[in-house]
């Protein structure tokens, strides 16, 4: 099973929270390779602490996106001094998928933000 950029990137059967997590992982990796612990830290920072993802769940996301070809293990040469940790990076496909998804979601989100609050029963 391979993703193509034309398609919504992630499986609809996964939970919405994880789908957000997928996008978050791609967003972080979009800025450069990262190890697991760093990924979790960065996600927490970017979401202002609202999304705290546990390692067990994070690796499930990585495993799934690795299979789908969206992320991959960074070659050892790219690793920094801390050799104990594996680094992950986004693939070109992952970048395209993330951008397509973000654009789509961005439009939807913008529309929601633009909606004016409606008071129940009131006439305008």
């Amino acid at each position: 099973m391979k993703w193509s950029a034309a398609m919504p990137p992630l499986d609809s059967s996964t939970t919405p929270a994880l789908r957000t997590a997928d996008l978050l992982v791609l967003a972080v990796l979009g800025d450069g390779p990262q190890h697991g612990y760093g990924l979790a830290q960065e996600i927490a920072t970017r979401t202002k602490g609202q999304v705290a993802i546990r390692a067990a769940d994070l690796y499930r996301v990585l495993y799934r996106m690795d299979k789908a070809g969206l992320v991959e293990l960074a070659p050892a040469a790219r690793r920094t001094a801390d050799e104990r940790r594996a680094y992950y990076r986004i693939t070109p496909l992952g970048r395209r998928v993330a951008r397509a998804q973000a654009t789509l979601l961005g439009e939807i989100c913008a529309a929601i933000v633009a909606q004016r609050p409606v008071t129940r029963g009131a006439t305008s």
Binding site: M1, Y37, A56, D57, Y59, Y63
Partner: protein
């Protein structure tokens, strides 16, 4: 990456990691484990539980993701679109190799036709609703005696049951009957029918197709004569003319008005029943309670269960035994038995049919293994194709589905072809064995049979196709792509060999069953019947009603017998009330002078036959002592009897029975035993000799008797008909058979079962032979290169021959061993079908083994020759 656990904590984390799929652990295991083993994290029990819970959730979630991905609707080629693609692909690959597809379809069709035929018979007898309303509520009431199960009921009993039972209503009595039909052509015809009370049609809930059924007034004595006819009779004799209802029909003894035609499927009490006439029962003047000669059917009242009805009838039986101790003496074992209608009709067919169904299931399994074998061979040819598709991202599940769809298509095509063949097979069985089994009218158009056949072949097709997707065949895609013509993968060979060995084992089991059945059949036909078979002609007749008194009947029969005996070509002629081996019988209770039965409640009760003329000489039953009857043993002379050797031994032991006396009833005169004759069998050759008491027909006449004539060589059974016609042109005779025919009929069911079993076994071994051939041909063609090298290195052609034949012999031997061992168990099933089955029969074991090994050698001969002829240069050039 192996996760190496050292500290207990690390071990704990490694254990929790097993929640994740294997592929995950290989790729991320070490990294994830490292996350949890940071020195900074706590090592408390609480932390351990927290980690376990996290990892379990994450791991199971990852496994769920894997499953979703495999089934993903969005993956290319899945869903309905994908199904169409698979169907198209399947169709293409079948039409691409039409010969292959044809072979597979033919294999399935063969097995399916047998399954369809046997299932059709099974369905008609055991599964399908009978053409009566709510057949589960209809029961047959019978009498239970110490030596008889579910035998006839007497009229007073029938009246008592109807009066006392609260769970069974309505109730009907019936008795089979035959009529001499007077035809316009002048040749009288014998018609089988039944006399039934008017309630018969109410009990069965049957309505006529035309006209009406009997009214309660019509089964009273003295009512005008009416008759209902079967659909078959209406079509055959009355031209299917609706105007026939209301017209009279002439029977010997009077006209009857046809008041209705029963529907085509209504054939009770027997398939041969063509005419129903009212059975009049006069409650004011019933016949004797001891004469048990009626069958009784009844319907459970709404809400009553069979168990409740049984309890009630047992209670009624106890009451009756109390009220009539002379009829139901203690120790006679008398009771009332209730049988569900279906069991009453078809009970004796159940076990043999189940056995036959098991046998055809075996043939289907063999066919399935064979097809799997073919498909595996084909999958190997297509390994490159499949590997390419796997490399391009087709999931294992997807490839399996593709294979299953191909198998499904093959199975359904085979099933459809098999259904047509099955219908033809059933027609052939009906033509050859009209009486052996109840067979259905239609097979092809019956949705149940069609559905059953298509379902089983579809399942077999899918099963066979999925074998090809076994893990064993899955070389990593890379490997298959690299060696474009790999030598046969060892796993493929192993699976194919296992399939072939399975086939051989299954067909060995079938052959064993056939062998054992054949041996028992041969033993059966070699049994000494106790009388002559060859050159004995028989015919049955009912004296015309013109001969009213029994004395007239006796005179009439004497004239007829004399006429037959006087014909050229006839050595002896005589009469008997029931022929040996005909299955018809009649037993009477009697009392012997100066003899006390060991069980006082159980007076002697044995088979009784009326005989006249030179019956014993004509049948070739030897006289052992005393004298035979002659025409002087008339009713005005002292009454005499002849006993069979077994009867003499049973009641008189070693003492001389001649001159001893017996009587049937207290009021009747004593009968003196005048002779002892040899024993005969009653129902069939598979039965032991029965004690028989013979009385002269002139003293104990019967209206319906069989005439027996011993013929000179070259004379035909038609002399009987000619001789009788010379005396009485209007006397119908029926069942004109040579004694050989009776023997044939008495073993007909066994012969039928044997023939079917044999057919299944032959087809089974043929399929297995095809399997062996397939594997060996495949092996040789795949190993051409290797064999070529051997030749190039100086191997003798005979060595190659031995190599190939040895391998197929090895497979055959393995199959024979497994089959013989497993066959021991299945042969036990044959006890339901054949007489005196011997399980451990060394002759059968040896014959089957030799036969199967020979077939294996023959089947691999052609591939072996091909191996011998391999040209090393040619072989090495092929890439």
């Amino acid at each position: 990456v192996k996760v190496r656990a050292q500290t207990p904590w690390e071990r704990w984390i490694a254990l929790c990691l097993w929640c994740y799929p294997r592929r995950f652990r290989q790729r991320f295991g070490a990294d994830l484990s490292a996350q949890y083993c940071e020195p900074a994290t706590g090592r408390s029990i609480r932390a351990a539980l927290q980690a376990a819970s996290d990892l379990a959730r994450g791991g199971l979630g990852a496994r769920a993701d894997d499953l979703c991905a495999a089934w993903s609707v969005r993956a290319t080629g899945s869903g309905v679109d994908g199904l169409l693609v698979d169907l198209r692909h399947g169709l293409k690959s079948l039409t691409h190799r039409p010969l292959f597809a044809l072979m597979v379809i033919a294999t399935f069709a063969l097995a399916a036709s047998l399954n369809a035929a046997v299932f059709a018979i099974l369905d008609t007898t055991l599964l399908r609703p009978l053409p009566v309303r709510d057949d589960a509520s209809v029961v047959s009431i019978g009498s239970e005696w110490i030596n008889f199960r579910h035998s006839s009921v007497s009229v007073p009993e029938y009246l008592d049951y109807g009066e006392r039972s609260r769970t069974l209503s309505p109730m009907a009595a019936l008795t089979s009957a035959s009529f001499n039909l007077v035809t316009t052509e002048g040749v009288p015809e014998r018609v089988l029918g039944a006399r039934v009370t008017a309630s018969f049609f109410e009990v069965l809930g049957a309505a006529p197709a035309l006209g009406r059924v009997f009214t309660p007034a019509e089964d009273r004595p003295g009512a005008p004569g009416v008759a209902l006819v079967s659909h078959r009779f209406w079509m055959r004799r009355l031209g299917g003319n609706p105007g026939a209802v209301g017209q009279p029909i002439r029977f010997d003894g009077g006209e009857r008005l046809i008041i209705g035609v029963m529907p085509r499927e209504f054939r009770f009490p027997a398939a041969t029943t063509d005419v129903w006439t009212p059975l009049s029962i006069n409650p004011a003047d019933p016949p004797s309670r001891g004469s048990h000669n009626r069958q009784v059917l009844a319907r459970l009242v709404p809400g009553a269960s069979l168990a409740r009805a049984r309890d009630e009838m047992h209670a009624i039986a106890k009451q009756l035994a109390h009220e009539h101790p002379q009829v139901y003496p203690p120790g006679s074992g008398w009771d009332v038995s209730l049988l569900p209608f279906r069991e009453y009709l078809f009970g004796s067919f159940q076990a043999p049919l189940a056995t036959l169904m098991a046998a055809v299931a075996f043939v289907l399994l063999i066919a399935c293994a064979n097809v799997a074998n073919l498909l595996v061979a084909r999958a190997t040819e297509r390994a490159t194709d499949l590997a390419t598709r796997a490399a391009l991202g087709a999931s294992g599940l997807r490839l399996a589905r593709q294979a299953a769809i191909e198998g499904l298509m093959l199975g359904i095509c085979g099933g459809a072809a098999g259904l047509a063949a099955g219908a033809a097979l059933v027609r052939a069985l009906v033509a050859f064995f009209p009486e052996a089994l109840p067979v259905p009218d239609r097979v092809l158009t019956d949705p149940r049979i069609a559905l059953f056949t298509l379902l089983i072949t579809a399942a077999a097709g899918v099963l066979a196709a999925l074998v090809t997707r076994l893990k064993a065949f899955h070389a990593p895609p890379g490997a298959a792509l690299r060696h474009r013509r790999a030598s046969p993968d060892a796993a493929t060979q192993r699976v194919r060999s296992v399939l072939t060995v399975t086939e051989i084992a299954l067909s060995v089991m079938l052959l064993m069953a056939t062998g054992v059945a054949l041996r028992s059949f041969v033993r059966l036909t070699n049994v000494n019947p106790g009388h002559e078979i060859a050159g004995v002609a028989t015919a049955r007749m009912t004296a015309l009603t013109r001969y009213a008194s029994l004395a007239d009947v006796a005179d009439y029969y004497q004239r007829l017998t004399g006429s037959v005996a006087a014909r050229p070509g006839v050595r002896h002629a005589g009469l008997v009330s029931y022929l040996p081996l005909s299955g018809q019988a009649n037993d009477w209770g009697f009392e012997i002078e100066n003899y006390t039965p060991p069980n006082p409640g159980q007076p002697p009760d044995e088979q009784m036959r009326s005989v006249a003329g030179d019956y014993f000489q004509a049948m070739g039953v030897p006289l052992l002592s005393g004298r035979l009857f002659d025409w002087h043993d008339r009713s005005d002379r002292p009454r005499v009897a002849i006993v069979s050797a077994l009867l003499a031994k049973k009641y008189f032991g070693d003492t001389n029975p001649l001159g001893r006396r017996l009587r049937f009833h207290r009021e009747q005169p004593w009968i003196t035993i005048a002779g002892v004759v040899g024993d005969v069998r009653n129902h069939g050759l598979d039965e032991a000799f029965v004690p028989i008491l013979y009385v002269p027909a002139m003293q104990q006449p019967e209206r319906t008797m069989s005439i027996v004539a011993r013929l000179e060589p070259g004379a035909g059974a038609s002399v009987i008909a000619d001789a009788i016609r010379a005396v009485e042109p209007h006397q119908p005779i029926f069942a004109v058979h040579m004694m050989e025919d009776w023997v044939f009929r008495s073993v007909a069911a066994s012969r039928f079962n044997l023939l079917l079993l044999g057919l299944f076994a032959v087809l089974g071994i043929l399929l297995a032979a095809v399997g062996v051939y397939g594997v060996m041909a495949f092996t040789v063609s795949r190993r051409t290169r290797e064999l070529g090298i051997r030749v190039a290195l100086g191997a003798e052609p005979t060595a190659l021959l031995t190599l190939v034949l040895g391998r197929s012999l090895l497979m055959a031997a393995a199959g024979v061993l497994v089959g013989l061992a497993a066959g021991l168990g299945t042969t036990l099933l044959l006890r339901t079908m054949f007489h005196g089955v011997q399980i451990l029969d060394p002759i059968v074991f040896a014959t089957v083994s030799v036969l199967v090994l020979t077939v294996a050698v023959l089947a691999s001969y052609a591939p072996a020759r091909r191996a011998m002829r391999i040209d090393p240069l040619e072989a090495l050039r092929t890439d």
